[in-house]
Symmetry: C2
Subunit: 335 residues, 2 copies
DNA sequence: TTTGAGTGTGGAAACGTTTCCAGAGTATAG
DNA sequence: CTATACTCTGGAAACGTTTCCACACTCAAA
């Protein structure tokens, strides 16, 4: 059986309160007393029981993160940032992976993490009125990343402006017929980036008095293969676009696959711009909007941690992380 | 303030012990009593305090996973399998990401998770004598995935045999000069797959009386770019290999990059075989050893969970997950 | 010397559960 | 009608901490 604080107290010849003070770094302990206690702790290999500690302090030193599709690079990179920041602050990180509507509803319906968490990060998942309502009732500090909701602190990028920037880059390089490929505009889990980026795409065209052609907009599914299929459809049009803006790098990879499979040159014959800047994108020379994913994770985690150590101070309502366009050969071929 | 079991008991007009019995599904409760209690729980929105529960039961309902490089696809896929299985069993999952030797030593030196976990999964990280010693002292159930250690249950694949199979596939298709590219044989964290796969590579050659040429073996770093560099070195040899076996798909992608950059055809001019079977590998038509990553995660998690619910029954010492070779055009061009 | 503040310490209450134990009630067998 | 067994229930102990409170002591000021 593991030792308790009483064993330590007895061995050190002090009271349990003093041991507790030593453990928690209270200043009011005589140096020689502290040393005796530390020696006893060392000798017994004593470890404070976390459950007992939590029970009395009502803190768990744990934060949770709910995220969709643990497997997709974007979410993993953000998670990595969160993990780094959380570990550094000596908190634990519990993850809840959501891959279906039922799972999401299970988590937000039952809130199974309720007693176990000091705070929660929700990544990319939009929260509906029901979820917000339930969350607000239990007063658990929440921070959102890559999604927004009334009144909750959020770390986001400006998808509209970023997309507009990407499309304007294409326009500046002489393109007038620009396709947009993305995943479903209204996906099951309600993730809205594809919609927001569509708005930016349309804004760029409108600004330059280019007519918006519905045939150039293909919103179907996620992933590389679907991106390739969408591109195939675009290139089979009577008047195909000369440039393609993809709402994700994975889709853009698919576009490049299709272009190359047709014996055409990416950048030369058809320009491609993506969104995310995955590790592979620079290898493939894909022009893309760089999202600082790890930084978004760190930023969100930090906001939550700050709020935990400083409960009265309000968290910043909305933190916009700047993005930038990485211009590579897929849109501007080397001369 | 949140309600306690006492509030529920008072409202339902029963004792706290009865409420506890209802919560924990004890059979000896009169149906109408149970209903009164459930109604009270519902009305108050009562949730049992986890810390109090843990304190008295000495169980946390949480398992931890220590894994390196949260960002690499292989580890993420395995983690996903673990998460799925753990969530299904109504356990929480705490993750500890290790990206440096210091971090690993911090985790295994202090075992900061000690009081918070019912069990631990170690993914891919080899454990030294010191770590094993410490772990055995604290009697925390441990399961290893993709790594092995004296006496601890482990879920692994047979890297040697798998590599041998991959190389023999190349030999059968007429290749005699076969290169092997991989990450460092003795990396910082001690991960040993590259070494094991090298042994399989050598065994295949030896079996077919092919001389092992040290120039054909390039162990440098991880990732796609390094794979490309290794391939460049191989192809610049006076007598370059006609086939390349890469210890990871990421490395194989780099090899394909370099081959294509030289205007040669993958599969036609140089054959490439990888290891992992990432999502992208089928798109790129890469022949590769398929590792059922998610399944490995699930399998390891299940072994741990079984052991937790059944402490006396010994866990299977070594579970070997079968792998298979996925033959695609990178080694056998379509005719 | 007395007062007062300040420092170091220990005992005990409190946190919210689970579970042991005992008791009340009911049904069954002798 | 009593003895026995079984079911349902409630009180209270126990889990291992933190923290409140009280006490003893030291030292400086009055």
């Amino acid at each position: 059986m593991a030792h308790t604080i009483k064993d330590v107290a007895r061995l050190a010849g002090v009271g349990i309160a003093t041991v507790s003070r030593v453990i928690n770094g209270s200043p009011n302990v005589l140096p020689r007393t502290r040393e005796r206690v530390l020696a006893a702790i060392e000798e017994l290999g004593y470890r404070p029981n976390q459950a007992a500690r939590q029970l009395v302090t009502a803190r768990t030193n744990t934060i949770g993160v709910v995220l969709p599709f643990l497997t997709r690079p974007f979410f993993v990179e953000v998670l990595r940032g969160i993990e780094a920041e959380v570990a550094q602050a000596n908190y634990q990180l519990i993850i809840f992976n959501v891959e279906s509507v039922e799972q999401r509803d299970r988590y937000f319906g039952h809130l199974p993490f309720l007693g176990r968490l000091d705070g929660l990060i929700v990544l990319s998942l939009p929260l509906g009125a029901a979820e917000l309502d339930r969350l607000s009732k239990v007063d658990l500090p929440v921070v959102l990343i890559d999604t927004e909701a009334h009144n909750l602190p959020a770390v986001v990028i400006d998808n509209e402006t970023a997309a507009q920037m990407a499309v304007e880059h294409l326009i500046e390089h002489g393109h007038q017929r620009i396709g947009y490929i993305c995943g479903p505009l209204y996906p099951e889990l309600g993730i809205s980036v594809n919609r927001e980026r569509l708005i930016g795409y349309e804004a760029a065209l409108r600004t330059h008095n280019i007519e918006i052609c519905q045939d150039y907009i293909r919103a179907s599914g996620d992933g590389r293969e679907v991106g390739r299929a969408s591109t195939k459809a675009l290139l089979n049009l009577a008047t195909p676009p000369t440039a393609i803006f993809a709402a994700s790098d994975e889709q853009a990879f698919g576009a490049m696959d299709e272009i190359q499979a047709r014996g055409m040159q990416v950048g030369q014959d058809i320009a491609v711009v993506g969104f995310d800047d995955l590790e592979m994108s620079s290898y493939l020379q894909l022009t893309t909007v760089h999202q600082p994913m790890e930084r978004m994770g760190r930023s969100g985690a930090r906001i939550l941690l700050d709020r935990l150590s400083n409960p009265d101070q309000p968290a910043p309502r909305r933190t916009v992380i700047p993005v930038e366009l990485c211009v590579r050969q897929s849109s501007v071929p080397k001369s």
